[in-house]
């Protein structure tokens, strides 16, 4: 009986440091944010006043907020499938048994070794409107120079491209690990059954890859919904709010517009949005085996 009791609490004991970290660094800030979103600043007195759901009501009437929702969703609808699709393709290529494949596996990982701010600054130099390298090449080829980050039509796509350049190598590592876990006997069996290359991918690779794929999909989605530094460094949310994602608008609210209540309300709504999308992803990608 005593041994049983020991067995029941031992796992919790080992989980305790991780749980403690999650509570202190994740759950507590969420509750603090929720609490903060119910208050508005007052001035001179230095006190904040309880306004219940006012911040949320004001947000729902604010066209800038709705624009940010639109930009955030548009970016994620494009960037997540793009990154995951390219990462999967890259992982499949890197899984081919070739001489010197180790070298290729290493170089595709280089972009992730460049920190996000440095990558942004480097790309800003390359894409500089006035005599940036990319524009110099375009002009030399007889093509018109492009505004890139200075255009409301191009800026978001440029940010998506930079983030994808950085992200694909990273996510492909997880998928490559997943691919290498698939037993070769399954492919042999499929080949004996007469399955072609596509059939083998559809019936063996993809189902067996669902676990790493769901991890990559969920994590990548969360990271992209919370992406902030490229906008902060490259465009400040502009031009014409075309890159003003919810995270950027929340940051502006807190540190430029002196309104922590509005900033917290935006983050809370972003949290709800992410939870809904992740729940849908889990449902869709749930492994059947």
């Amino acid at each position: 009986m005593q041994a049983m009791r020991e067995k029941t609490y031992v796992p919790y004991l080992f989980l305790f440091p991780a749980l403690f970290g999650i509570i202190v660094f994740k759950l507590l800030p969420i509750f603090q944010g929720l609490n903060e979103s119910l208050y508005s600043p007052t001035f001179l007195q230095g006190e904040k006043i309880f306004v219940a759901l006012d911040n949320y009501v004001t947000l729902l009437k604010d066209p800038v907020f709705w624009n940010s929702v639109k930009v955030t969703l548009l970016m994620n609808v494009v960037i997540n499938p793009l990154q995951i699709g390219l990462a999967l393709l890259l992982a499949l290529l890197l899984n081919i048994q070739l001489k010197g494949i180790g070298f290729f596996r290493s170089i595709h990982f280089i972009p992730i070794a460049v920190s996000q701010p440095i990558a942004c600054v480097l790309w800003a130099l390359l894409l500089n409107q006035e005599q940036g390298i990319v524009n110099s090449i375009l002009v030399a080829l007889g093509l018109p120079a492009q505004p890139f980050l200075g255009s409301s039509e191009q800026a978001l796509w440029v940010i998506i491209a930079i983030s994808t350049w950085r992200g694909v190598g990273y996510w492909s590592v997880f998928l490559l690990a997943g691919l290498q876990e698939i037993p070769g006997s399954l492919y042999e069996a499929a080949a004996i059954d007469g399955a072609g290359r596509w059939e083998r991918f559809k019936n063996v690779t993809f189902p067996m890859l669902k676990r790493p794929l769901i991890f990559v999909t969920v994590t990548d989605t969360v990271i992209n919904f919370l992406m902030f530094s490229p906008m902060y460094i490259l465009t400040k949310g502009g031009p014409e709010n075309s890159t003003n994602v919810l995270m950027n608008e929340s940051f502006n609210s807190a540190f430029q517009y002196s309104d922590l209540g509005r900033a917290s309300a935006i983050v809370m709504m972003l949290l709800v949005l992410i939870l809904i999308i992740i729940a849908a992803q889990f449902k869709l990608l749930k492994p059947k085996h």
Binding site: P17, F43, L44, Q131, S136, G150, G238, E240, S258, L260
Partner: protein
Amino acid sequence: MRKLSLLLVSLMMLMSIVAGCAKGSNQAEKPASGAAENGGKANSGNKTEVDFMVVSTWADDLQALATKFEEQNPNIKINFVSLPFRQMLEGIEVQMNSKKPSFDVFMVDGPLVSNYTVKGFLEPLDSYFSNDEKAKWVDASLQAGSYDGKFMAAPMNTSTDVLYYNKDIFAEKGIDLPAQDPDKRMTWEDTVELAKKLTFDQNGDGQTDIFGFTFRQVGRPYQLLPLANSLDAEVISKDGFTAQGFTNSDKMVQAAKFYYDTFNTWKISPKITPDETVEYFATGKTAMMIGSTAYIKMFTERGVPFGAAPFPYFNGNKAATPTGSFHLGLSSFSDKKEAAAEFIKFATTGEGAKFWFEQRNELPASKEVLHFITTDPKFEEFPSSVFRLAAFEAQNTAVPRPVSPGYLEWESLLTKAYEDIKAGSDPKKALDQAAEQSDRLLKKYDSLKK
């Protein structure tokens, strides 16, 4: 045995958590206990350490000023926290909202004095400065540092901008140099015509190599509001609570259209960031640049073939120039207020103010130093004579930026609008949006209306 090891593991975990928390609380308490032991001053050895939040472009000059102060006050050490302009503003918000003594002294842009006062960031300085000491600053700077009858931030200097030009590029194009005399001030229309001639592709690669004109502070209201001020525009309501009808008035739109045209119609200005403009001018990629007197020293040292002319105005309208600058604020959360105030006083008055002018070359707010500029014969020769021009502008054409408790929000939105206009947005649409959003954000200050 198993039980014992389990107990040990649990104990170790508990101890590590307790130690972690205890460490955190010790760190938080340290300055306070230090303060108690040393009569309100935290101590490092025998020195009181004053933390100073500064804008990175000013850090080297301020370091020289701090060294001078430390020579005279061996018991005080000034530590720097240096950030780029926009990040400094954000850093102030983040750290002040934590209500901790993260820094003791910080740079406050003149129009932000009211905003920081209502948010409770600033400690009033009335008890540290006598009326005689306050009377030594020009009135506009003293007013800019005051809110609601209280003196909140001491002016380091004021500022004036001039039109710098590159003599070599003018010579290459055979164009006469602009005059430095304010009576022969160029109009914006003349300036644009010159700039068009000075914009060209030098190496024939199909891209513009030399641009005719740039503002040093591209996109920032400090340099762009004088365009509207020249047209006599009121940029925000007098009480500072309403932007609609002011920030997007016809005159503001007209001025913004001029700014738009420099990039998108006439293409005389490069689409670069404020961080790049000085290098563009100093390396001969821009023929004319609106900039502050602070660059005289740098251009002279680097051998830039420069001259200076007065800030242009719109034909048939009045001359209007930017003014105002950084003040030094004492953090209301500082636990070393006495030592911090001593530094503020040194930096903004008497010998320190004069040293600061010689070091930084921004137009002084001290009447004494201004008098020195207008009377000392060394300011008759170029390039020092540009300070005489600056002093003239400060007394005759300077238009201060507006006062509003929500200046930070208003300015951020206006900067965003100007950035969009540079990128090619319709000026009216951009200003309409800025005014509309600004009014929404300024609503939270309604309780301050009198």
